[in-house]
Amino acid sequence: MTASEILKMMPLIIVLATPLITMLIIALHRNHLTTMIVSVIGLVLAIIAIPYSKALDLTKIGELLIIDNYALFYFLLIFTATIAIIIPSYPYLEMRFKGNREEYYLLILTATLGSSVLAASTHFVSFFLGLEILSVSLYALISYLRQTNEGIEAGLKYLILAAVSSAFLVFGMALIYSQTGKMEFNALMQFFSNSSKLNLISIVGLVLMIVGFGFKLAVVPFHTWSPDVYEGAPAPVSAFIASVSKGGILALLFRFFSQYDVLNSKPLFLIFALLAVFSMFGGNFLALLQTNVKRLLAYSSIAHFGYILVAFLAGNNAQNFKGVEAATFYIVSYFITIIGAFIVVGIFSTREREAMSVSDYRGLYWRHPWLSVAFSAMLFSLAGIPLTAGFIGKYYVLASGIDNQLWTLVIILIVNSALGVYYYLRIVVEMFSQPEEAAETKHPSPSVGVMTGLILAVLTIALIWLGVYPTGVIGAIKISVMGL
């Protein structure tokens, strides 16, 4: 490995080094705050390294990794999101967990590393490595609050189901390798594009890989784990699964198919379209009468990935990247809103339980006007109300769909947007309705730390900023996607 290659990989290396350093620090001096601060510093350094890495010309690092603008864009997104999750985790853990809190950051950092490896991988090996680094960290993270039964249950469920899905994935890879003898994405897709018709075994291999993707993205019918896991996991970890973990996989999915026009392959198109349709309807219908906020967010996240798949279908290859552009913007706005929403859930949790029931939020406005306004902004964005990032994201997704005349999908998306508004607004209505007298004593006012409040404020401002002034981010996305 040359020096410039090491420089190019600097963001990844820093994220790799941070958990190691953290581990050493824990060994020497166990302190919650120090660990958190060191983790944040590591991530900030990694972000600082990104522009330097961008300045270097070379992109390919050996066979396995590619650090192009696209990967760097996702690095930035993933690292920033992780910071926004780590900081509110501190008061959350302080309140809810008695045991050793420091290893939590270790695991989050390794999971982040896994997710960023996914965004940069161009090879089955690095893909699988990244995925497993991510998954294994998540098993432990999900059941980190080991005093709760739900946490243990969620962790176990995720372990079993993720193992099953990985089996599908690896078997798919094996089938493809057996037919093509290739594991590098570009070579693979060239092979597919050159052969006039894919042979059955390799296309079955692709389908099995899609099952693996589908599981991680939690699209129907591979979604069943997500509500149980979101509910059982600590709120910041749910935020992490919903954002960083899914973001890395999505980045890989886009890259994997970037040389291959899904629109032209009838069976693949049909499978993705069915996944999208089922996810949109399934997610929204499941969320409709849901009274548990964390499950509701899980279902809504299923629906949102259905929307993203529509954009993916609308344009995923070099001739037409509009769809991926739209999907990437959507992901950015989705990251902001879902992290913000889970932070609010975390803030309202008490030592004994998390604030999961919709009724916990009744009359919140009268007690915490700021928090409820921030939460409302998140929900409005998820519902796609104009002047929020969610609206622009949905608008771009729709525009890309219409551009490719995917009318059925577009109409289904619109119908589902209407469905979604119902359950998002239900929470908003709860927050702004008058509380009962007795409720005052039932919900002791949580205190919002300065840093958590700051993160929430930044997320809310970013949300509106993107809704009013999206051009800047869209420009950055255009540049990053161009190199795919």
Binding site: K157, I160, L161, V164, S165, F168, L200, I203, V204, V207, L208, I210, V211, G214, F215, P221, F222, T224, W225, P227, D228, K266, P267, L270, I271, L274, F281, G282, F285, L286, L288, L289, I392, Y395, Y396, A399, D403, L419, V468, Y469, P470, T471
Partner: protein, 631 residues
């Protein structure tokens, strides 16, 4: 200086945000500083920009400040951009300048209200939305401002929401204007469909190339826009909301009637003049609407007993004049009257507010009286405002602006003698009901003791506005009196001029002017006789059956509420009641039922059992593989 243009609409919005978020913590003094200060700085910047505009006009007589691109997808391209030309400058000036004095006045008027900061938050938002409307460079921003104005009027009319009557008035205003807004939205879609752009200037330049004069689409589009304009500007047939809008605090009325809201329709038509010129039919309709409205509202104003309702009908009537002027193509005359009207109408409302404050919130004029001595400043300024509204010849600004419209109603291309006659007759009625109000309120016996003597925060706005209501007219003098055309020359860059056509027949113009001048004086004298000297004439008349009926008819605003109640509301409610269980409704009942069933069906899969989950994954894989194998 131009680069600071973006601050003009931003500051009121910022004021709104600060007041909305921190209002309670700020306290009254700071809230007042934020609320009044934001508009004040906006007004100051506008004036500085205006001076620069006058001394060295920008290239092409318009300054466009593109702030950023909101959305750009294929041909759909929306810039957040402000467009400043002579027309929007006049509007911006009036909105911020008059708005500032109204805000300052409100500090005293609302001093005892517990929702002090909420009031200023709404007022700032109102001004901000209106500024966005007139400065927006494309139809989307214009529409955003348009709807924002609608929302704020709702919030302010229903400001004292604890009284359900106020809530009713607010809803009425919102729903009635919504009827017009729906028409306008369709009109905007039509324009976008026809020209493929939302940029107003591009539409105006493309229109004459795409559409010939009298083109059907042009007529439809302009009529639809007119629908929006009559809704917001309270013109026939959607004028019914404005008299009820008096439910809001009086400064709100001043803001709605003078600086914002009701003039939005005038702005829309003036801004879209290029399209209206392609549709002479629509222009004619605009003129007819204006003439009919000014007469109907004038009649209604004759018998009102509530001082604010008199002013409300006078607003409808004066906006009618502006529509008349727009309809006959006298663009700059309409804008001139808009500006002068803003000065004197704001003055009158603020004066009325001072009176109401002094009379224990009594609004019935006939219970007042003799206030001239007790409230000298209010009296003299109110007199000036009334003189301007009644267009007393030579000394008031209203005379010059209204005279121009009356003359153009005859002499302009689209004018004729009937429109002129309506305008002249309307001027006569205006003078009569205006001075009826003055005599009843300020002369005769004082019936209620004065409870609140205004301080400087009320007096200064009154005096400043009175100054403009007197002397504002001298920037545009008719052809018969020196032909001084500063204002219309200024507007020439934005609106087509028309003096050349209209000033050919000098003797006729003299005749028209002298007639209106004499009629105005006669009407004042008549009011003096009937309401101060010999009030028994009126009471004798209203005691007869016919007189009483006529009085009631006029009092109810010529029975429009009655008519609409029977024509629309009752049939609508009846249909809604009887059709409660019809099949269309069944469909909508079915939808949530079906959604709920789907929810239960899907929930069943969420069993929490891992073996079921794995089964789901496996089934998904099997189905996917089957698809691949079959296809």
């Amino acid at each position: 200086m131009y680069d600071f243009l973006w601050l003009v609409p931003t500051l009121p919005f910022l004021g709104f945000l600060i007041l909305a978020l921190f209002g309670k913590k700020l306290g009254k003094t700071l809230s007042a500083f934020v609320g009044v200060g934001s508009i004040g700085i906006s007004a100051l910047i506008t004036i500085l920009i205006g001076i620069r505009f006058l001394s060295s006009p920008p290239e092409g007589d318009a300054f466009v400040q593109t702030l950023w691109t909101w959305i750009a997808v294929d041909r759909f391209n929306v810039n957040i951009a402000l467009h400043l030309d002579a027309l929007s400058l006049v509007f911006t000036f009036v909105i911020t300048f008059v708005g500032f004095w109204i805000h300052l006045y409100s500090v005293e008027y609302m001093a005892d209200d517990e929702s002090f900061s909420r009031f200023f938050a709404y007022m700032n938002l109102f001004v901000g939305a209106m500024l966005l409307l007139v400065l927006g460079d494309n139809l989307l921003l214009l529409y955003l401002g348009w709807e924002g104005v609608g929302l704020c009027s709702y919030l302010l009319i229903g400001f004292w929401y604890k009284d359900s009557a106020n809530g009713y008035a607010a809803r009425k205003a919102f729903i009635v204007t919504r009827v017009g807004d729906a028409a306008m939205a369709i009109g905007l879609f039509l324009l976008f469909y026809s020209f493929g752009t939302l940029n107003i200037q591009e539409i105006l330049t493309q229109a004459p190339q795409t559409w010939s004069v009298g083109n059907n689409l042009a007529v439809i589009a302009t009529l639809l826009l007119l629908g929006g304009a009559v809704g917001k500007s309270a013109q026939l047939p959607l004028q019914v909301w404005l008299p009820d809008a008096m439910a809001g605090p009086t400064p709100t009325s001043a803001l709605i009637h003078a600086a914002t809201m009701v003039t939005a329709g005038v702005y829309l038509i003036a801004r879209m003049h290029g399209i209206y010129e392609l549709a002479p039919v629509s222009m004619f309709v605009v003129a007819i609407v204006g003439a009919a409205t000014l007469l109907i509202a004038g009649f209604a104003g004759l018998t009102q007993v509530d001082i604010k309702r008199v002013l409300a009908y006078s607003t409808i009537s004066q906006i009618g004049y502006m529509f008349l002027a727009l309809g006959v193509g006298a663009w700059s005359a309409a804008i001139f009257h808009f500006m002068i009207h803003a000065f004197f109408k704001a003055l009158l409302f603020l004066g009325a507010g001072a009176i109401i404050l002094a009379q224990h919130h009594e609004q019935n004029m006939f219970k007042m009286g003799g206030l001239a001595k007790a409230l000298p400043v209010t009296f003299w300024t109110f007199l000036i405002g009334s003189g301007s509204l009644a267009a007393l010849p030579l000394v008031t600004a209203g005379f010059y602006s209204k005279d121009a419209i009356i003359w153009f109603a005859w002499s302009a291309e689209g004018g004729n003698i009937y429109l002129w006659a309506a305008a002249v007759f309307g001027a006569f009625i205006t003078g009569f009901y205006t001075f009826r109000m003055v005599f009843v309120t300020f002369f005769g016996q004082q019936k209620i003791d004065v409870s609140h003597f205004p301080k400087w925060t009320i007096h200064v706005p009154l005096i400043v506005l009175a100054f403009f209501a007197l002397f504002g007219g001298f920037i545009e003098l008719p052809g018969t009196m020196g032909h001084f055309t500063l204002f219309s020359d200024f507007l020439k860059s934005a609106l087509p001029a028309m003096e050349e056509v209209a000033h050919e027949n000098v003797s006729l113009e003299y005749f028209s002017q002298i007639l209106t001048a004499v009629l105005a004086l006669v009407s004042v004298y008549l009011a003096y006789v009937l309401y101060l000297k010999k009030p028994q004439i009126v009471t004798n008349f209203t005691d007869t059956g016919f007189g009483k009926g006529l009085q009631q008819f006029f009092l109810s605003g010529l029975g429009f509420d009655w008519l609409y109640e029977r024509l629309f509301i009752r049939p609508y409610v009846w249909i809604a009641r009887t059709n409660k269980r019809d099949f269309i409704d069944l469909f909508y009942v079915f939808l949530p039922w079906m959604s709920r069933q789907f929810h239960y069906a899907f929930s069943y899969t969420q069993s929490g059992k891992v073996r079921r989950y794995i089964l789901g994954i496996a089934l998904g894989a099997v189905v996917s593989i089957t698809i691949v194998v079959i296809l």
